[in-house]
Amino acid sequence: MKVSKIAAQDQQYLRGLQERDPQILTDIYDRFFPVFDRYICNRGGDEADAKDVFQDAMVVLFRKQQEKTFELTSSFGTFLVAVGKRIWLKKASRRVKRPEQPLHGIDIPQDAEIDEKLERTEQHRLFRDKLAQLGEDCKKVLRLFFMGTPMSEIATEMGYTSEGYARKRKFKCKQKLTKLIKSDPRFEEIRYQGR
């Protein structure tokens, strides 16, 4: 993230978001959520939708912050709300199953970039939700595997008789997870396509 001339308050928000500081996250929510709520409730959504969009916008902004080239060119609030509007546009379009309509007069950050980050955020949430539905054994094997733990260590940690069994178990668990993911209506909604 590049540091440019931004207001002290905005710097604090950016730092708080990067560090996932609960108090600053709360401050951001208190200050900007009413804008999300008003905007979305006036356009066919409700408070729950506004909360979803607020969360997604924060995660999208968090992901953008991880990029070395990220530079805040407007105020934090302006950017966050613009991202939120873009996200609501996507979600509302999906809901009524019609192509997105342009938002006249609204300064939306580069759409494709926001869309890609939103898609990733939604996919990953779906994956994690589904992992939580697996049995404890599968959950643990997959977590260890995804974190890059060697198979021999997974076998020891899980009390399996051999590395070969650990490998087989990991494969079966991944199959179960994949099946759960594909059977969730959100999978189609996100319209997962190979990139």
Binding site: R20, Y29, M58, V59, F62, F127, E136, E157, K174, G194
Partner: protein, 256 residues
């Protein structure tokens, strides 16, 4: 997607293919949109679980916005975070603790009371076991005992549940020692028999109950041993990888 292709994808992503196999597989991916989409899904799936910081952020945002089943009632600042952490404490009658700021150091007893969130049902474990066709454990006896214990457990009849486990001790120990020790440990915690819980949970080796047993054992040790370096180190371990207790472990450490 057939099983053979799924195996190929798994071997490809795990780096288990020879150079020749890799080239062949990559050619197949170029020629099949279905295979390419599946490979992309599996890749993204792996990436999703290598983002503990995003998971942590989402958990915190869910709590702040009240979009979580655990905590829905959000009060106004600065009581919001106190309210979240204290919701468990209220249940065990530590109302006075609510008056303390969240970041203030708490005693071992207060920390234990605030974070000992025992399961309301053993149903999750039952479901996990029934959905797990590869379980090594003999199902009949264990399932029957679990169902009976869970029914009593949900009714709050902890002594009755403990009696059922005691009646089946030998058989359970023979067929599924982890199940025996885990259930015994949880029931002991429910009855505030912390020492017994510690002894039982420390016997759980791994597998289905491993992570949960380790978590409750760490909390029980906090209650018995106090805020020692060894106990703190156990909590820190839970913050090092994505797991069900990561956020709570961080909360414990923030009030250490």
């Amino acid at each position: 997607m057939n099983e053979q292709q799924a195996i190929q994808i798994d071997r490809y992503l795990s780096g288990e293919m020879s150079e020749e196999e890799r080239s062949g597989f990559e050619r197949a991916v170029e020629q099949s949109a279905e295979l390419a989409a599946e490979l992309s899904l599996q890749r993204d799936m792996e990436a999703a679980f290598r983002e503990p910081e995003v998971e942590d952020l989402e958990e915190k945002l869910a709590m702040i916005t009240g979009k979580t089943t655990k905590v829905r009632s959000i009060q106004t600042r600065p009581w919001r975070w106190i309210g979240l952490a204290a919701s468990v404490a209220i249940a065990v009658g530590i109302a006075l603790w609510m008056l303390l700021p969240f970041s203030q150091s708490l005693t071992a007893e207060e920390l234990y009371a605030a974070h000992i969130d025992l399961p309301s049902s053993l149903e999750k474990n039952l479901a996990a076991r029934s959905a797990d066709p590869d379980s090594n454990e003999p199902e009949n006896l264990v399932s029957q005992v679990l169902q009976e214990v869970d029914k009593l457990y949900q009714e709050g009849a902890y002594q009755g549940a403990a009696a059922v486990i005691a009646d089946n001790r030998e058989a359970l120990l023979q067929s599924s020692p982890d199940t025996y020790y885990y259930l015994y440990g949880i029931l002991s915690l429910q009855q505030s028999e912390i020492q017994s819980a510690t002894e039982a949970l420390s016997q759980v080796q791994s597998g289905v109950y491993g992570e949960s047993a380790d978590w409750y054992l760490t909390l029980a040790r906090l209650r018995i041993e106090g805020k020692t370096d060894a106990v703190r180190s156990k909590f820190e371990q839970f913050t090092n990888y994505p797991n069900d207790h990561l956020v709570t472990a961080k909360k414990v450490l923030s009030s250490w």
